[in-house]
Symmetry: C2
Subunit: 401 residues, 2 copies
């Protein structure tokens, strides 16, 4: 093992080298399985070889570089493809930082999970690596916007027929993922680093109100069954009651409302809302779910519309492994005394899936202006360097334990 | 003048004859200026000649049949084109009933206003007939769905270059319009006829909330500017406060909500709602407008989103001419004692425009199941006959006064 200070210059140089593949303005455009995405995976494998790892790309595009020495290792990484015309650090940061750990001689397997950005599915790479993606799911998967089948994209990328990686939890002490914050909380608080307490659980619901489509002029208030009003009453009750039940970091959102027919002079016959809430505590999530059920039941009972609640998806909260999180916090305090703040991740990351089979933890580094999923996404070079120092320090402590 | 009992058999026969032009299942399909619509106008002109009127079609498709005798006359009618695949009585009833009045020898001008159904504009025929449609409006008017210019449609219909009718209020005692109810209030109350107290005023508004589009996971409740929440708070305040300010027949509706980007995992950056309220009393409408302004102002002030209110359109209430309405009520009581109920019209009709230049009143006849704008629209034959008897009786009384 070399000196305790990692080579931040090489780390930054690697990031800038990777940034040139699929460059778009100051960001990058490397959607999953496109030629530029595949070039970046090849680039990564070459880098892995260079730092002494044994690289391999699997049948879904996951790239892993295995440490050659004996004994247990740490798994570290993130993803390498991007959203369309997006930022240069989202995903790339965690992969290149993992590479830097390996370069320092730490027993680390470096991984770039495929399609974290969801072009073809829901965390296909990380879920596949822990056995959660069936062949049937792969047969059915299609590109979210243009509809190309996943199988076709894999064939074009030269991945058809390759076996898919299955991680062996017994090989690993655990998983570490460095990622940009994609929010502005660290920046707003004047903090330079954010050890992640865990990844929130998310419960997504479809709330539907069924009323009666009618002319807005001819139907009296006493007669009408206005689905928009029933939907609004559900949202108003949530707005009123959730603050008293929520934890300090709970979020809840209705991002989608669809009225039918959604015409100015027609009473809505149907309203559909997608509603979600997120928290690190399953207890808080359970409490909110119970209240949501009661609210929907109550509006259904009182209103002339039928109101129903249907689960759309549910992701369990993944608290960071306590020992890993503590090591990251100590490292943050050593390298940025008083300038770090532990925080939950409101967004889901590959680490949430790794947490199902091994101890896992994440570290956030600030995003300038909180911007992400846009080519203007950026992080100060000094913060990038700091994030590597903290990650390196924490990894050493975890491996030494 | 002939006997006081109008020829209901001929009246029904005329309605069924007209029904065959553009027949669609049990309804009709005669959109404005289509060949079937023009055939129905020609049919009407022939019928007008037959009952002794002098027919004329003007440059926007209005058909008027003028009484040949001297002195003042009553104007009566409605419209003859239909919504797509719609009912056989909506509009046609009022025109054919007016024809029946003329057949009885009453001094009546019969009119079929063009495009009441709004295929190319907003009450083009009746507004044109009182001088409210400029050449510039005609140049700009296009079909609501396929976008064909009004001028092109008029050329194809052979109406290009014809002068447009301008009604002379001095010629008329006033205007009478018989129409189907297009609602279920008469039917629900077991009533067979509905003298119309007036046509409600309508005020339509655009309410916009401007927030900040953000990821639903990364943005805390304290940071977010959720336009959907601001919009919902406006609607909730309306839902809470309007009942205490409204009249017994006031209606209010938000039929259209558009969130941007309207995606499940994105906090809405913008919300736009179209909101309207209707009442026969301008005083009630003023009261609701004032409250709406306060609600929007208050949400704008308290919420982190900017909320604005913008008028979209405003139609003044048109109470029926008291003497006409009284004559219709007396006739209803004579022909259907205890089985009629005076009611406002929640929908706008050509009569609202006529009311600007002459006394005007309407009579509703029940719609089976309240259905309209659909080919299954229908009214019992006995109710149709009754409606003609009441209209005829009222017209005689008005003309005798």
């Amino acid at each position: 093992m070399r000196d305790a200070a990692p080579d931040t210059a090489r780390f930054l140089a690697d990031l800038h080298e990777l940034r040139r593949i699929g460059a778009f303005r100051t960001g990058v455009h490397r959607p999953t399985y496109t030629p530029d995405d595949m070039r970046s995976r090849e680039w990564l494998m070459a880098k892995m070889r260079e730092v002494g790892l044994e690289p391999e790309m699997d049948g879904i595009g996951n790239v892993i570089g295995r440490h050659k020495g004996p004994g247990r290792t740490l798994l570290a990484g993130s993803h390498i493809e991007t959203q369309d015309e997006a930022g240069w650090l989202d995903g790339a940061l965690g992969v290149v930082a993992a590479l830097a750990l390996a370069r320092e001689g730490l027993p680390v397997d470096v991984i770039a999970f495929a399609d974290e950005e969801g072009h073809y599915g829901d965390f296909l790479g990380s879920r596949s690596a822990i056995g959660l993606v069936t062949e049937a799911e792969m047969d059915a998967a299609r590109h979210a916007t243009h509809g190309k089948p996943l199988r076709e994209a894999l064939r074009e990328a030269g991945l058809e027929g390759r076996p898919r990686l299955r991680l062996d939890p017994a090989r690993y002490e655990g998983f570490l993922e460095l990622h940009i914050e994609q929010g502005s909380q660290l920046e707003a608080a004047g903090m330079r680093s954010g050890p992640v307490t865990g990844i929130v659980g998310v419960r997504v619901w479809r709330i539907r109100a069924l009323g009666q489509q009618d002319h807005t002029g001819g139907t009296t208030m006493a007669e009408r069954k206005d689905a928009a009003v029933a939907a609004m009453r559900v949202l108003a009750a949530i707005d009123d009651q959730f603050p008293m039940l929520a934890g300090p970091r709970t979020t809840w959102t209705c991002g989608r409302i669809a009225l039918t027919p959604n015409a100015p002079h027609v009473i809505a016959g149907e309203a559909e809302m997608i509603f979600q809430f997120r928290d690190l505590s399953e207890e808080v999530l359970d409490r909110l779910e119970e209240r949501l059920r009661r609210i929907v039941q109550e509006v259904d009972r009182r209103d002339r519309c039928a109101v129903t609640l249907e689960p759309v998806s549910r992701a369990a909260a993944a608290p960071s492994a306590p020992a890993f999180h503590a090591a990251i916090c100590r490292a943050a305090e050593r390298h940025a005394p008083g300038a770090w703040a532990a925080m939950p991740s409101g967004a889901i990351h590959d680490a949430q899936w790794m947490a199902r089979v091994m101890p896992a933890a994440m570290l956030f580094t600030p995003s300038i202006g909180g911007i992400s999923h846009h080519w203007t996404e950026d992080t100060a070079a000094a913060d990038l360097e700091l994030s590597l120092r903290i990650l390196h320090d924490a990894a050493r402590e975890i491996l030494a334990a």
